[in-house]
Amino acid sequence: MTPRLTRRDFIKVGAGTAVATGLGSAARKILLEPFVRPPEDVLPGQATWYASTCRQCAAGCGIIVRVINGRAKKIEGNPLHPLNRGKLCARGQAGLQVLYNPDRLRNAVRQTGGRGSRTFEPLYWDAALDLLTEKIGALSDPGRLAFLGGLMPDHLYRLASLFCDGLGAPPPVIFDLHSALEGRATADRLSKAFFGSDELPVYDLAHTEVVLSFGANFLETWMSPVAQSRNYGRLRQGPFGGRGLLVQIEPRLSATAASADEWIPVRPGTEAHVALALGRIIVEERLGHVGSHRSYAVLYQDVEVGDMAQASDVSVETLRRLARVFADADHAVAIPGGYLAGHRNGLAGMLAVQALNVLAAQVGREGGVFLSHPAPASALAQTARVDTFDRVGDLIARMRAGEVDVLMVHGANPIFELPAAAGFAEAVSHVPFVVSFNSFVDETAIQADLLLPDHSYLESWGYQVPAPGADRPVVSAQQPVVRPLYDTRATADVLLALASRLGGPAAAALPWVDEVAFLESSLGELVSSSLSAFPADTAGDFWAVWRRSGGWWSEKEIPREPEVTSVVETPLRVVEPTSEGDSGSYPFLLYPYPSVSLSDGRGANLPWLQETPDPMTTVSWGTWVELHPETARSLGVVDDDVVRVVSPFGSLEAPVVVYPGIRPDVVAIPIGQGHVDYGRFAERRGGNPLALVAPVTDPDSGAWAWAATRVRLEATGRRKALARLESLEGAGRESLR
């Protein structure tokens, strides 16, 4: 940091200059000493690249950041990283604006005027830590401490777990909307049930011929979109010739479906019925070339193709055609996507889809299904697992019952991300002391008493085991690419400092002096790993290589073949979808979907992402309601007419986008806008469709069934022009010819 310039210094500097310029004889060589010595890594005008890990979503892509004069200037994909191989998505590209966001919280503050008052009093970190130590120390029972995490880097999750464990508090609850929308919790369950594994499956898109995607928007936000997009490119125009077939089965034509060869507008919640019907047809008609299907016939004993066709609104002919295409292909894969997990039959449905891969013998086969690698070291194995909605519900209930005295929130924004009906906002008021580690004052942070902003991810240390992973074991490294801009502090360091102040078991559980020491000890096992792509003999070497290349990964591709559990010996269940709200007064099913640019809303404070047009509607900066042309006509509305969407849980008003690619009985609204707090670019813009969504779960998995709410539409007679890239008059035509 630049020292303060005193008057005395100034005189000294002035005198020195006089010697150099006025009195210096030609014979004497006087070295001019600059007033401020630049840091060693700052070469004026020279760009330096630092490798790190993207934290804009959970995928864990490797990034390299161009730094000039100590300032990050551009983020690119790390070309060495096995997951994304130099590629990066829009959200990853926009990471600079997290760092340089004008609305970042710049130091620790207390909210002195009461929660929501927005009157903040700056605190010295020592005072803040004292305060927090005192609050935790004063707990009558460590169980009255709750830690709620969102998108946490793995090292912080481990530290927070150790912290809670050491204190005797319940383990951190992890919830974030993005993960809920991609069905991560259900996918975890599915993996466990199907492959007996904690790791998520990887679908080998690059080498397959036929992809049946059941509600997986894998080119947008689902799981690891950059890696999947890269592989999609190879599916299309791969180096091996041939062109794969992609069939997207979902009620709304997503950007992924737009890239597909065929879109099957299935009735919402019955995607799995299609999968079941396909399986039944394959078994019945002995399709494919894998020999006998007899062993799997049991799976489909309860399935009747005609019923499935009727329930799903997909014709039997189509089902037969798809079954043949899928079964006949050498390499084919079916993907159970996040939209399935949003229904109350989510787990059952995803099981049915995964079963297709078993049926077509695509498990562990090139172009089929593989498993992600587990963390290559035991210390790294404690990775962040998203919790189900049920567990979050437990926390809310505890809070409401006054069983939580201190709530620590890191990276989560439950007031925005949970359905309003879940009552988190109300529950918070029963918690006497709330601490937020968020970098921005979002809807949850505004309810906190103490705000201890973490560094932005470009100023932070950490590691991440990508899940789903790549074709080999990988740990992504995160390191600061610039010095912290503000007086923020790494939450890991805050937890370590807290532990040492609290003493006792907490201090024993967290013995590290600082975050880096913690990282070094966590990564210790990797140093001697024989798999490493970058040999390093000593811990020092390893640390340098780790930072330079942006992580650790194996040199060779190591596919991990899954073992199918006994789940395939029991018949698959046909679970009819149910939804909240009766179909008489609420004739439409609400389809909230994550925005490609804003994701679950965490991108809403970045102007680049706000300005990025939605690929399908080309709208930026707003919320809209997608209606089938027929629906719009019967409602008497056209593009830009504002409609009110009413569910049993709330209502929302937004302009209409007449959308040719949506079922007439479905209404889609993008998630991401509707922030009340979260900085100037996000606030008071659009609406949050989660206000409409029922807080119901899939009873099999406990996951939030966010796609199972019915709504009705009301025209308001008002108009609001959306910021569209396309000309409405152009009517989406490519040319007039």
Binding site: L99, E611, W621
Partner: protein, 240 residues
């Protein structure tokens, strides 16, 4: 006048191939371009009135009707026309053809007649209607290699000229020519499905040349004869 033939052998003709079969419409190129080229953000009001500043946009076309409806994506950036309609109309040579076939835009020569914007059949030029705003400290994100344009100035995709120059200079210092694929504009660099390929059309071995010879290749509004340097590759059909 230099010998045209000889110079054609020596000088590159930079071109970009856009494989529509790979493009997923993900908008990564658009944000990468904003970051690389200091493209300002217009805000909702201006963006909604056709005053967004993107140098690359992804057109989305609808085909057919529900349920057999399809959408296609088409990234459109400055086509770097060989015979650019925008160039001769500028009274002050703010836009001209550089020897490497690029349609250069010289910001400090632009006086803002917006004639080039009208002349461009692809409508890929954007105009700084107001002074661009970068609320502090967003100015820190600005790329020092690229001019920040003031108001009243036309701008457009440059194929990341600063990156081309950097690689060229490095190659010249090493006494070689830039290798194929060594130069990557920001959009090409980031494109997840690798739909964008950049290279030298005058090098018959370059990937972009090979793609240009593909039976799938076409150029946007080819009938106007502007000789664009952006080569589109048609989306395919999978026969099953």
């Amino acid at each position: 006048m230099p010998d045209v033939k000889a110079s054609a052998e020596r000088t590159p003709r930079w071109a970009m191939a856009v494989d529509l079969d790979r493009c997923t419409g993900c908008q990564a190129c658009l944000v990468a371009c904003h970051a690389e080229n200091n493209v300002p953000v217009a805000g909702e009001k201006l963006a909604g009135y056709g005053r967004w500043m993107h140098w690359i946009i992804i057109d989305r076309y609808w085909e057919g009707e529900f349920p057999n409806v399809r959408a296609r994506f088409m990234p459109v950036m400055c086509q770097q026309c060989g015979e650019a309609p925008c160039e001769p109309v500028c009274p002050v040579f703010a836009t001209y053809h550089n020897p490497e076939g690029l349609n250069a835009q010289v910001y400090n020569r632009c006086i803002g007649t917006r004639f080039c914007g009208n002349a461009c059949p692809y409508k890929v030029r954007t105009f700084n209607w107001f002074r661009p705003e970068f609320p502090e400290p967003l100015t820190e994100q600005l790329n020092p290699d690229v001019t920040v344009r003031s108001r009243g100035i036309m701008e457009k995709c440059t194929f990341c000229l600063q990156r081309i120059r950097a690689v060229e200079m490095e190659a010249r210092a090493a006494g070689r020519r830039p290798a194929d694929g060594e130069i990557q504009p920001a959009c090409v660099q980031t494109c997840p499905p690798e739909a964008l390929v950049f290279g030298d059309l005058n090098d018959p071995e370059s990937r972009v040349s090979q793609l240009a010879r593909s039976h799938r290749s076409f150029r946007l509004l080819d009938e106007l004869g502007a000789e664009p340097a952006v080569i589109y590759l048609k989306g395919g059909e999978t026969n099953v």
